[in-house]
Symmetry: C2
Subunit: 248 residues, 2 copies
């Protein structure tokens, strides 16, 4: 039984529909409107009382709504699992787990679930096998990640994605201020991401900071007019020098 | 005539070989060994004096060797062009230009030149057409970029690629310290880069800083043990808050 009808739930439903190993027997959602696209495909309900029996109840709702739903289904004799990266394992349910697909989902964008990492955790070891089978039926990248590790992963993702995207924003601003289409940087941005994930990012670091090329660094600093950008340039340059200097 | 036999020259030669619009009539390189792979494909020489006549002399050598080569060919009655992003336009040659493919090239990696942006500049407007034809014969992304713009582009690339890669390195370090495979973040990193280039990075910013979610930000800061990482987390978080706060 899938609980939720938002982005994550929709993409999960589609992925499970494509495998014969898993059957979604029911989709629950509070609002009937959101359930509409599911109605011709599967039994749906807006009432927790009408939930049918199932081996796993997969809760794919907003982070702050997870606990409330868990509370309502915790007495089921089944595995109660949520899909949220930032919510801990709930011990209130007898058998519980986390099934966290680490990806940002957009409503209509096609998703190749095979490549999406799914991070699993269960309180009981015997339940892990169930989640592992469930995850491996839709993804080739399944990992066992504890709540503690998931916290660190979230922190790492802030650096690798949120902060990275802000640096793209700064680059775009610099381009716009100089009538350079940001598109000129697209290929380089994508190759940088590909290389870092194919190899190890520390092995493929390039640029003036790595070479401790003070002449270029000074020229760059003279070109920056924004105070925040100056601070970021200085700090990241120094951090690269420190990190790779230590390594040598 | 192509001058140079390194990564950029090799990839350019391959790309030009695949189009009928351009003929590389000769490849020059100081060292005979490096010319070896070209010998069966085109006339080669190790001597500047033996250069044949051509419409364009394309200098694809290391940044600090460009000027020396330009000096040796500057009196040719032809367009003298270099491929370096960080070297200015040389007015020593009568007709001169820049043909700068904005990408990092690895020796053996296959390159789809069609998607590589080529930044062009010439002193004389009538020479621009020649370079444009040359560039469009191998790439679909051809831009007119002045020396001043190229400087800014280089600065923007430091933010979008060098600094970004350092953030990947920090994320990898956090993963390794917590026995989480960095691979878990691969899909997210690649999608972040794709989204930023497909849309505008400022439109797709996500994360606790964007929401000014101080609770999560504090939790993250408590988890960081490294002084540099703490500074970077604080500065980039504040910069995102400042940037997107102003926008609202």
């Amino acid at each position: 039984v899938l609980l939720g009808a938002g982005n994550v739930a929709t993409h999960l439903f589609r992925a499970f529909s494509e495998t014969e190993k898993v059957e979604v027997v029911q989709v629950y959602n509070r609002s009937k409107t959101t359930l509409k696209p599911f109605e011709t495909l599967v039994e749906t309900t807006t009432s927790i009382e009408d939930l049918v029996e199932a081996e796993v109840y997969l809760i794919a709702v907003k982070d702050d709504a997870v606990e409330e739903i868990v509370d309502q289904v915790k007495n089921k004799n089944a595995l109660i699992v949520h899909t949220s990266g930032s919510v801990p394992l709930f011990s209130s349910a007898k058998r519980n787990g986390v099934f966290y697909p680490l990806q940002t989902f957009s409503k209509n964008a096609e998703v190749n679930f095979k490549e999406i990492p799914i991070c699993l955790e269960t309180s009981a070891e015997e339940d892990f096998v169930i989640l592992k089978n469930l995850a491996e039926s839709i993804s080739e990248k399944v990992f066992s990640i504890s709540s503690e590790q998931r916290k660190k992963l979230h922190l790492a993702a802030v650096f690798a994605c949120n902060f990275t995207n802000h640096l793209y924003t700064i680059a775009e601003t610099i381009c716009q201020e100089n009538q350079v289409p940001f598109e000129v940087l697209s290929a380089l941005i994508k190759v940088t991401a590909q290389k870092a994930t194919l190899y190890s990012p520390k092995e493929v670091q390039t640029g003036p900071a790595l070479r401790n090329d003070q002449k270029t660094i000074q020229q760059h600093l003279e070109q920056i007019t924004d105070a925040d950008e100056t601070k970021i340039y200085k700090l990241l340059t120094q951090s690269i020098i420190d990190y790779h200097g230590k390594k040598l």
